[in-house]
Symmetry: C2
Subunit: 147 residues, 2 copies
């Protein structure tokens, strides 16, 4: 049994950092560093998901264009083909999707609306939390304080 | 029981991408993108570990110095206080260390020598592989082909 995305979001919060496609790559970098995250979701004026822009996308564009990359609009650098998940997706499926696609961030979409984002760090943290809970239950069982 | 680092390295290989502290940040970016990895180990002429430089370090320096960051030497940007692991560290401990430190790469050191590197992606992949093996054993047991 693996924890669903809804539980992961209950713990980490549902705030999603977004940026518009017209902003510059330099602004992506500032925002990623300020908020200590690895990706921003690119949304249009109505809030619909247009793409995702990650540290990896920034690096790729810098390797291609050098310093000029910093002035490019987000829309030219972002990944348009966004893999998403839902509130009911399980942590194990998340992990498999991230491993296969070599991606570290999945926006969470519910009924067409962006409701959160999960990172590979969140998946690992949820596994650690799960193991801690199991260890605690076992300890309570062994010490006889559970029942 | 969690898989030790030695098993993870048996699967992924023991090659570690390194760079010297005198090289420029632009060269870090090229190497990360070319090899599709998130961090390089910084070594001196004798091969001793001096630091680690990751996508996150590159982003931080770009946010601080803009385009000038690209010309800075690696030694000014790298993280000097490197958290490492050994061949016998278990995947669960790796995951906990990465979660607590918010780090995604741990160089593997054996007898003072750099023998590999494990990323958060490798930790997640090892968990997926472990689950697949368990599922297979269970299936063989249920279908009666195991014994």
């Amino acid at each position: 049994m693996s924890v669903p995305v809804s539980v992961i979001l209950d713990r980490k919060g549902r705030e999603v950092l977004t940026i518009s496609g017209e902003q510059r790559l330099a602004e992506v970098i500032s925002s990623l560093v300020e908020h200590r995250v690895g990706a921003l979701v690119v949304t249009d004026a109505a809030g619909a998901v247009e793409g995702i822009v990650s540290e990896r996308d920034v690096m790729r564009q810098l390797a291609e264009s050098g310093a000029d990359a910093l002035r490019l609009p987000v829309s030219e650098v972002m990944t348009r083909d966004v893999t998403t998940c839902t509130l009911s997706t399980g942590a194990t499926e998340l992990a498999a999707t991230m491993t296969e696609g070599r991606i570290r961030h999945l926006p969470v979409v519910d009924d067409g609306r962006l409701v959160g984002i999960v990172s590979i760090g969140d998946v690992v943290k949820s596994r650690i939390d799960e193991l801690a809970t199991q260890a605690e239950s076992l300890e309570r069982y062994v010490t006889g304080t559970a029942y």
